[in-house]
Symmetry: D2
Subunit: 342 residues, 4 copies
Amino acid sequence: MKVGVLGATGNVGQRFVQLLEDHPWFEIDALTASETSAGKTYADAAAWALPNEMPDAVREVTVRETSADEVSDEVEIVFSALPSSAAKEVEPEFARDGYIVASNAGWARLEDDMPLVVPEINPDHLGLLEVQRDERGWDGGIIKNPNCSAITMTPTLAALHPLGLNEVTVATLQAVSGAGYMGVTSMEILDNVVPYIGSEEWKMENEPRKILGEFDGARVDEADVSISASCNRVPTVDGHLENLWCRFDEDVGEDDAKEAMRGFTTLDLPTAPDQTIVVREENDRPQPRLDRNTGGGMSVVAGRIRDDGDARLKYSCLSHNTVRGAAGASVLNAELVAERYL
Amino acid sequence: MKVGVLGATGNVGQRFVQLLEDHPWFEIDALTASETSAGKTYADAAAWALPNEMPDAVREVTVRETSADEVSDEVEIVFSALPSSAAKEVEPEFARDGYIVASNAGWARLEDDMPLVVPEINPDHLGLLEVQRDERGWDGGIIKNPNCSAITMTPTLAALHPLGLNEVTVATLQAVSGAGYMGVTSMEILDNVVPYIGSEEWKMENEPRKILGEFDGARVDEADVSISASCNRVPTVDGHLENLWCRFDEDVGEDDAKEAMRGFTTLDLPTAPDQTIVVREENDRPQPRLDRNTGGGMSVVAGRIRDDGDARLKYSCLSHNTVRGAAGASVLNAELVAERYL
Amino acid sequence: MKVGVLGATGNVGQRFVQLLEDHPWFEIDALTASETSAGKTYADAAAWALPNEMPDAVREVTVRETSADEVSDEVEIVFSALPSSAAKEVEPEFARDGYIVASNAGWARLEDDMPLVVPEINPDHLGLLEVQRDERGWDGGIIKNPNCSAITMTPTLAALHPLGLNEVTVATLQAVSGAGYMGVTSMEILDNVVPYIGSEEWKMENEPRKILGEFDGARVDEADVSISASCNRVPTVDGHLENLWCRFDEDVGEDDAKEAMRGFTTLDLPTAPDQTIVVREENDRPQPRLDRNTGGGMSVVAGRIRDDGDARLKYSCLSHNTVRGAAGASVLNAELVAERYL
Amino acid sequence: MKVGVLGATGNVGQRFVQLLEDHPWFEIDALTASETSAGKTYADAAAWALPNEMPDAVREVTVRETSADEVSDEVEIVFSALPSSAAKEVEPEFARDGYIVASNAGWARLEDDMPLVVPEINPDHLGLLEVQRDERGWDGGIIKNPNCSAITMTPTLAALHPLGLNEVTVATLQAVSGAGYMGVTSMEILDNVVPYIGSEEWKMENEPRKILGEFDGARVDEADVSISASCNRVPTVDGHLENLWCRFDEDVGEDDAKEAMRGFTTLDLPTAPDQTIVVREENDRPQPRLDRNTGGGMSVVAGRIRDDGDARLKYSCLSHNTVRGAAGASVLNAELVAERYL
């Protein structure tokens, strides 16, 4: 199946290219970027900044401008690593022209007819693609994955939700790659912490409510879980760590929580990890440098699950913010669409 | 007034020496350390690791073994930067012999007759010194300051307590200096976060309850505030940052909270800052590198105070963990004792 | 004496403002910045990012556009923290209008009539101001300080030059602040080193040759010392560390080198440190975090001076790159001009 | 072929275990550590601190005390990750008993009958194993790899040696993992550089001379290349970067140098990389975070090769200090021995 990557030269775009190398189903046919990069080879256009080398297969691919006119009709899925402002203009254009857009961009995630999906949690929300086509008159469609900080905790919340979860308090310790290559200057973050990330708390407080919600065939009814987040940027390269306090309708035991996480749904898709949530027993895990690559960067790692009294549990969890938290999430969404719809 | 520093060669000991240079009331007469350092000059014994130079006045002072026999009777106050295990043995010996021990060591902070004091908050708890003398038969006494992570948030809790505070949820982002010079290896913390600090959460959950408690002349009745902490070590050198969620008996406005913090007690003591709590309005402050030296490292800096619905406020606060959080706290305690009792 | 700061809102501009607070001779009268900042108060225009607070005296000063027309004639000296491209346009305009421009900007440092001065080394090169006025028809003049990486080693080279220095090999480990606030992204430098800094090696290889040169009343004859540099960016905030190998006409003893450095010229100017070069004997110094503030950030700290055989010595040296290496250097130059010419 | 790892629980020991997982020739039969770990499972004894998980195959292996008596006679090769002091006692014991010891420990590298080998450079020095057996009466033997900082540059020196190399000046920027897990505290290195690593410069100045030397069947005649090193520890996790200046008997062109490096010997051994030296053309490479895993961590990456005038070239090079610089180097040595002698 031929695919394209929109915004292929940036931080997340490079992760897409890396994850799609040797993908069993998808083959990169088109790489797009801004006007200034169009016409160059990918090797020239992208300042490759991942620890492993740029795949040879894409080095000589000519980068095109980001426009549906520039991408072959043989391409079925395009991955969007575009910044939200550009995505807003371009993604509907691709959807209209019949492409499935697996989008990591923030815009429109909470719109009524927009599927916001984590395949292990709410695959049925894909049904919104039909609603979307009907309402917007598109031949294709857009499917969104949540923000990197939201996606880190959401699988654990989904595991705990059936146990009566009603309130979540969460503090994040987020890696700099989450802000994009140019997002955080070294002067801001060396020997420092920044206790603020623009609009991040709002995303964390709202996106999981939709993902955990019920799809009735037309709309998603948000889950009745209140969430309060406080977001911090810390001097780590990759891997968002989060401290959570979860309140339940009644007491929930640590062992029940662990069992719920360990037994959480896994999928048989190429990019899905063997274990969606890995629960560690050491008291000092998860740690970003040691655990971010668990399950190829697609597992969420949880630890320090402990009773907090008063029907609360507290724990920490972590995921790789540019894999499970961005490019990997979109690829997994595309695999779900491909398996069930294409 | 002649003073001594016990455990003068370590990280916190060096901060004591630095803070006592040019102190208007106190003059260093004795510096003690372990047996291996005894007999050396301080310049030889201490691997000075603070950004400013070792004060000339102490360079040639001969370091003595940590024992009351080694310290002159003219010394009235000794500051203890000892590790808790050593402090447990030595501090009572000094107290018995008539010295006032201003102790930063963790042991015994919650014992019934032990004053655990932040001068701006609970100066009246000093009355426990009398109780202590009576019960233990000491000629001197021991006064404790809280743990560095507890002390960071406690002034803000004290400011909010009269507004009906009943529940605190707190996540910390703590600097490596809090663990002592050898406490955290670089392999543990570079490009990483460690979501666990041994016994730190317990201290944060208990010490503030005593500090905010009522002293009835004999004992302290702990404040009825439940606290739940999750502690993290991050790659910063100095400055503990904390994210707090505070629940009240009824709604409290942001402005009332700010006013309570800004108007919190200040003291006219040499080491007390002009402003005990500095409230900043920028949405990305406080930050460790930029704000840890506010008020000479003795102010707590709060920011991002915002309504969280459901009778909760959330905010962040910060203090310099080896100044307000350790050596400076003990010096301020000693100033309080000196002013009121000596 | 009234002074102005051109480009006052950036990283180096802020250092100027900080160093000029409480200056015994200079009083800030004008702060300039780009068009977008003009008209705002300095507090609003500058994203203050230094560890100590913005001085109160400048908070409410209205920032003006960077143009000689905007600055009062009562101002005698302007400090230039402008980027080189802007400086090239603006500095001559100020010089023409009668201002002394103490410039940290890179452009024109090696032009024939441009004094490139480190006051302790070549104060006589100030004579070029006369040449400059004659040749360019200016009423004022421009005086330059060297680049931050060049200035770190140059005082030590000046101390060793009389001993027969003829070849310098130098590797640098430079802090991120040297690139300006936005200069180095966190993704580039966390857990990393970048072995390249654009045009930095060229500056290090040429500027010291002019500074150590002979001024004959009309031109400077460059010193006959060959220099080869290799420059690296490392994850430190402030303080450039350099490893040097110096070859001499004949063997030079370590003690002679130390004596030459310790005995190097000091000046009686407000911003000059007591000791221009501080030589340390410990084998692991200088270190950026511990030594960058020596002499208020104006001393160069040298260490590990050791014989290397074959008429070579090797050693390391360090300075604070935004104080001695930038704003402090310009202020010291201005003090020299003020003392000798105004 | 059955192998053992001596000192298997430490930083380098863990790398051995990781590199030997799925090795086509070698199978781990024995893991040894200090007395306190003996008897525990490897999972319990080793505080695993590598980014990827501990291999399942070793989790339940019982750790033995480090002694030849504890290791089966079926084991042919033991890898030594012991600290030098322990290695000095234990390695000869194993060699006497017939084991081949592939040792990363520093002791005895320069002893006359000790092969110090980089397989791509001086495989013939393995002949010293015969000399060693004759002189020491051992049934087995010890083969050494160089120190991590020496090994990084030595392949490039070997490539340039035939072009008339006679003098090397080198500054290093070394990662913290080179000092072992506990070697560098975070207080030492955050926001800092330490311009000193004990005995490292001596190793860099001597080991390459032996490796580049001629073996005449009995002894190695050191190469006549003078080397001067200045070593620095920087805040990176893995990957030693080095800046070199190489002087030749006469001018050598950049292109000739690149060709010599790119064409340098490669070996057909399991752990040998496809390209021993990878030369990059970008002006800002190699960088530790981006390039340390080149060739599975076994390639040396060189860049910025440029003419320096006066028969000198300068360039930078990098290797992964715990792979090519330690465990990988020993494994490659063992593969060479296995192929040629066993």
